[in-house]
Each structure stands twice: as C-alpha cells, then as structure tokens.
Amino acid sequence: MLSLMLAIPAVAAVACLFLGDRAARWTALGATLVTFLLGCILWAQFDIGGAQWQFTERADLFGRFQWALGIDGLALMLIMLSTFLMPLCILASWDAIKSRVGLYMAMFLVMETIMIGVFAAQDLILFYIFFEAGLIPMYFIIGIWGGANRIYAAFKFFLYTLLGSVLMLIAMIAMIREAGTTEIPVLLNYGFPPEMQTWLWLAFFASLAVKMPMWPVHTWLPDAHVQAPTAGSMILAGVLLKMGGYGFIRFMMPMFPEASAQLMWVVFALSMVAVVYTSLVALVQNDMKKLIAYSSVAHMAIVTAGLFAFNQQGIEGAMIVMLSHGVVSAALFFCVGVIYDRLHTREIDRYGGLAINMPAYALFFMLFTMASIGLPGTSGFVGEFLSILGIYEASSWVAFVCTTGIILGAAYMLYLYRRVVFGELTKDDVKAMPDLSPREWAIMAPLAAVALWMGVYPESFLAPMRGDVTTVVARLAPAKPAGDAHLALGEGKPAEATHGSAHHGGGVQ
C-alpha cells in the first residue's frame, strides 16, 4: 500500500516529463488525487489503538539497509497532510505556470513521493535518502519558476539545508555502529549511552533546526518563500517544514531522551526568542509572503516548545499546530497567490479595499487569518491552546513568552488583513480584479473545510496520534525534568496559596 503510494507519483512524474502542457497538468492532478484517495483509505483502515506500526512492508533490496516502510499515527497524519495539499498545489499552479509545465509537474510529483517516503521510512538510511532528496526538486521549483531573486534563494535553500543535514548523516552512522541496526523501530527503544546522546542530539538538532526552521537558522525560509512560486511556498510551508518537527518527535526525543532533557533549555530559549522576534519582524513586513514566512517561523517555535514540554498535551498540541499550520499557511500562501496572479505584486500597500470587489476572497482570507491567529473554532486554536497548556506545565515562563507571541500573531495578521482587504478601494487596477474563479473556489473550499473541521472536532485528528504520543511521553518519562507547574501542586491547600504567587501570574495572561 505505501509502496503503491510512493510509486504512483513517481511514475506519473516520469510520464509528465514526456507529455505536453495540458496532458501533464491532467496527469499530475489525476495522480495526486489517486494518491490522496489511497491516503484516505489508509486513514480509514488505520487501526487506532492497534499495533504501533501498521501497513509495514519490508524488502531486503539493498543489502546494507532495507526498503522498510510503515506508519504510526503521527506519520499517518503527516502523510494525509501531504497528499491532501498536493492536488491543491497542482490546481494552484494550473494557470500560473506557463513555461515548462511538464518539468514543473514532474518536480511536484517527485516531491510528493519524497514527502511520503520521509514519513513512511522505517529504515534510518532510507529516511536520510528521502530527507535529503527533497532538496533537489525544491531547488528546481524555486530556481526555475521563482521570482526575480530566485537564484539566490534557490542556492541559499539548497546549501543551508544541505549543511544542516550532513552532520545528521555522521550521527546516523555512529548510531548504526553503536546499535548495529538501521531499523528505526529498534533504534527507538535502544538506550544510547548518555554522553553519546548529547553529541548525536546536537548533530540531529543541527539538521532539524535548519529544516524546522528555528531561530537563528531560519533566514533561508523568508528568501525561499518569497521567491518560490505560489504552489512551491504552499508545499514548503505546508509539508517541508513539518519534516523538521517530525524529525524531532520521531528521532531526537525518543532516541535520545536524556540528551533531550538536558538540552531542553536550548530548545526553549531558541523558541522563545523565535516567537517574539519573528513576530515582531513579521509586523513590519511590507511583502505579504515574507510576513507569512516569518509567521511560519513563529508557529514552528510554538511547535518545538510544545514538543519539548515532554507531556501529552504539549506534544499533541504541537502535532495539531503542525497540521493546522500546514493547512492554514498553505491557504494563506494561496490567498497571496490569488491576488498576486491578478496584480503581480506582493507589496501590501498596493492593495486595499478588496472586501468590496472580492467578497468571497475576503471571506476565505478572513477565515484563514483567524485560523492563523488561533481563534476558537478554527484549527489554530486547538493546537495553540494544547501546546501552551503543555508548555505551562513544564515552565510557566516559557508559556508566558509563547503567549505573547500569539498576541503579536493576532496583531500582525489583523494588520495585514486590514491593509489588504479593508479600507477604501481607490486604486484602479485593484478595482479591476475579479473575484475567485471556480478553480480558486475548488482550492479554497477544501482548505477552509479542513481548518474548521480541525477546529471543531479535533478528535478525528488526535485519536490516531494519541497512542504514539503516549509512547513518546513514556519513553521520555525517566529523563523528564520536573516542571515548575508541578511544584505548586499541593494537596488540599487553599487555592490562593497554590496559585497566588506572582511567578505564575504571567502564564495565565
């Protein structure tokens, strides 16, 4: 089943190279839809509460390592996210891409294969191959179909992320040497010596923090996002960033629990800086894509902080933030793409008053803005609430700083929305912009539906992941440092004695 999901886009990619523009578009759309359908079957057949690894496949093709695939709930949800976004990305570039369509579609289909492969790989080397392979199609997508400064952005993206990943490879070799196996499920339960864990953790961190991206190694992201074509930004923000988060929860935390506990403060510190700093940077952006890119960094910082809270709420919340951000940021990038296609500028000041001539667009944009801010009822709220809850349990100060980030998030998103959509409709070229076309409706509607679904009934998304999160939490439990929230939990004491200290006042804001 998983091999089939990998094969369909791969075969379609080769086919697209040889097809004409029109045929390539339809082939790509067909292949991604079929893959999405297979993804839905995967989800339907996933046995919640069953074995940890399901749909496992093994073939001893490579001698030194295996073609081993299999998914747990975490991987399932991320595969669903990838397969869901992919047909929308193809649709989003239906008219926008006019040159070398076959190559473009092939690159996206290869990208899909790689993304599914990253989340489904059960062999360390296989995982690395998929993880690194993602650089190549993205390099082409940014470099060929990107904006004016695309070459700089493509190089920066490629070299930055490559430099991060190579250290992870050395760490993987050391792990394979120590444990004598390349199988991820075995490595997950292997106890690496604590001093070795620290080094391995740092090497993995170097790679995943760049991918994530965490402050201060996030600088490739705004460049890549701004220059990439709309669909490229959608997939970059929607799925590629999630590879970093997936790496944290799949490798770093369960494989190196002691080191994770030891170096938790590093993650917290970087996350806190990122939340505040990148939110402030986002506030002053004049380029819409750059603004959303910085907001991505801020959201990812909440993910890392939530993950390193080491408790059920924090990790579940982080996962939901990842899924929600995948949908919402992809949608926001598409919103930018819609008006970019009409006016060919991303400058915020060039727009204004879109609510008047593009009401449907304004409505969707509003929904996604709210989801990004984390308004109750949208997907963003569930994730942010859960992660902040988890973080609060671990450290109220971190929770306090992360919460300010959310407030700032509301500020920059609403400020963006006000400048683009509200106000007077004065500019003639803006007045001439038509509202959403049926194709754009077809992209907006599913994204909006999922954002609301995740906000109203997150249990459908949480249920498959719960067991796996529990496993990770259990694995971390021996190493877990005591959170400051627990210090105050007394038994039978008066309420004001427990919660009255100024120390905790911050977290409740």
């Binding site: 998929f130 690194e132 070459i151 490629f158 070299l159 490559l162 050395i170």
Partner: protein, 476 residues
Amino acid sequence: MIADLALIWPEMILAVGGMVVLMLGTYLGDRQVGLYQLAALLTLAAATVAVVALFGTNEAVFSGTLAVDGFGGFAKLLIYAASAVCILVAPRFFGGAMRAEYPVLILFAALGMGIMASSRDLMTLYIGLELNSLAAYVLASFMRNDERSSEAGLKYFVLGALASGMLLYGISLLYGFSGTTEFAGVARAMGGELNPGLIFGIVFVLAGLAFKISAVPFHMWTPDVYEGAPTPVTAFFASAPKVAAMALMTRVAIDAMGPAIGAWQQIIIFLALASIILGAVGAIGQKNIKRLLAYSSINNVGFILIGLAAGTQQGVEAVLTYLLVYLVTTVGAFLVVLQLRDADGNQVESIPALAGLSQRRPGLAAALAVFLLSLAGIPPLFGFWPKYLVFEAAVNADLVPLAVAGIVASVIGAFYYIAVIKTMYFDEKSEVEVTGGGNAVEGTIVAASALWLSVIGYLFIPMLGVASAHAASVLF
C-alpha cells in the same frame, strides 16, 4: 614459470592485442580506423573475460612480483571498461584526425594499469606505472596541431617525470632500508622499529602516487591537462588511471606499509582533506566545463582517500565501490561534454554557453544534472552511496573528526555542481546554439549510466558489496 603464464592471461591478451593492432596500423595505414577500433574492443573484451575467469584465484606469480587476486581483478574490470568506452567514442570526436595509434596507446595504457593494480613488488609497480604514463603522455598531445593539446602533453610529461622521480627515490629508500623490493618484505621491515629512512621512503612513495591520483598538493597539472587534452582522452585520464593509481596506492599502503599505519595515516588524512577542500574551492571560479570536472575529480579523490585513511577492510571496500561509481559518473559526464557542439560543429566547453541547455537538449541537460548531483553525493542519486560508505568506514575506524570535516567540506563542493545546474536550467538561453549530439553508442552509454546513477544503482548494492568485500579481503 610456465604455470604462472596461465594466470596472467589478461595481460598477455592485451600485450598481444596491442601489438597486433600496431602492426595492422603500420601496414594498413590510418584509413581502417574502424577495424583497429573493433580489434582493440575485442582485445579488451577478451581480457575482461579472462579477468572474470580468474576472479576467484588468489596467487602471487613470477616469484611474488605480481598478484593475481580479486583486488586486482576488480580494478582491472573497471579499467578495461573505461578504456573500451574511450575507444568507442573517439572516432566521432577526432573525425579525420583519428589515427591507428589511439587504440594501441589505450591498450598499452590499460596493460600498464592492470600491472599497477596487481603489483606486489616495487619494481613491478614502477614498470606498470611508467608503461601507463608513457602512453598517457602521447595521448594527451594526440592532436598534434592543437596548441592546447601539445601544451597539455608537455606539461603532463614534465610534471609526470618529476613525480616518477620522487616515486623512484622513495622506492630506493624503501629498498635501502628494508633490503627488498617485495611488498611483503617491506612490510616486515615496517613491522619493526621505524627509522627515518623508511619514513622518508613512505613520504616520497606516497607523494609520487598522490601525483598520479592528482591529490592536493600534487594536483596542479590536472586542470591544465584535462582542459588541453582531447575530450575522449580527458575522459580516459579522469577514469581509468585514477582507478589504477588508487588501487595501487591502496595496495602499497595496506600491503607494503600496513604495519606502519601510524606513519602514513596522517599523510593520507592530509591529502584527503586538502583535496576535498581545494578541489571544491578551486572549482568555484571555473568557466570551462572540463576544468570544472578536473577539480571535481580532485575533490572526489579526497573522498576516496578518506576510505583509505580508515585503513580497514571496510575502508578498502568503500574505496573500491567509490571507484566504480566515480568511474561511471565521470565517464558519463565527459561523454555529455563530448556531445556539446555549436552549430558549426565546434566543441562547446564554456559553462556560460550551457545556459538554457535544458530547453535545447533536455535529455542531455538532465543526464549532466544527474552526473553532477551524483558527484556531489546528493541522495537519491547513487553517488551518495559510496560517500556514505567512506564516511561509515571513517567513523568505524574512530576517525569521526575526519568524517565530520570531510562531510562539511562536501557542502562547498555541492555549490559549484548546483551552479552548473543553475546555468543549464535557470538561465536564459545563451547565444551559442548548442546542437550537435552524439551517435547511438554515446547516447546509450550516457542514458544507461544516468539511469543507473539515478536510483536503479541502489538495487546493485548487495552485488557490489559482495564483489568489493571479496576484492578487499585479499589485502587483509
């Protein structure tokens, strides 16, 4: 003695075949190039069959001066394959200037390289090396009327002679301080107290060999010779002699100097890191694709040396696997270069002229992109696998800092590879109308090697593992 002859069939076939083609050329003149080409290819094919038949044997012949073993066999297979390709593609390149000597020289060079890869004695080593080098000097200046070609030949000759001198000096020191030229005897002397004489011997021998594999700091000739030599010859230089010299260096290091690993390991580590870094940095400013590939070969030799620096069987296996993959990639890349011609049929070597190649010749551009990304070692291309193996060998030999330094430096290398891809894919079409294109043979070789390097190669890992393990085991 007579019994020994039965074990050196490949060498005999090549020697006789080479002389037959030479005679044919003398009597029939240069018009029958097709015939010589065919005869040379048949000779190589026969020699290949002989090597395969002897793959399992492990014996020393002629009083222990020459080894017939899997290690030599593995290297010879690569050498013969590369030689055959370089003979196949030559006629179209040279056109009317094709001469009978070309296949003859390649055959003799292949013979010399086979001897290099199998030598167990310092004298055999030197004979093999010189036989190869002399043929190579002539090949480099094969286009006598071309200034660059003649310059390349002269430069190669002068610097090569210098390197041979150093090597010979090292050999004489080793002989003087160990009393024998046999590898096993030298190894025995190394096993005892290391005196300065032996250490100097090690240094000079390694320096001489480093010249042949063009490792930094003995790499200066490489870009000039690669640029000046006719492209099929460059493809030859970048592939077969590298394999032979690397195999020779491995055998000398492990077999003859094995006990003194402490003495040579640091030298190899220095050569490796210097080659990786300089090969990467030097390539950045290059505007000529052949010079760029020259630096790329320097860079890749650095990675191969990491495997040797490990000094373990795993390291040698990695070296052999790397050589195979490197050979396929390099030959493929040069065949692509060979096909780049402008509207008048002149060779296009300038990188800026490749701008927009992906739109003019999509297949060719894709193949070159595969080769370059494979040389950079980016998965999922197969060039990743040998890099993984050398780093694994280094980590398992407790050389983690070396592995880390090497892999970080590989990112610098990635820069210029992706810069060429940028030119081909991102830039607007250049002024130069790149047309040309090769014949079916070249196209097939390019397509097959590109496909093999894309992902299909991974399916060959078990086979490669068995073969390289068998080959490497004879040294330990």
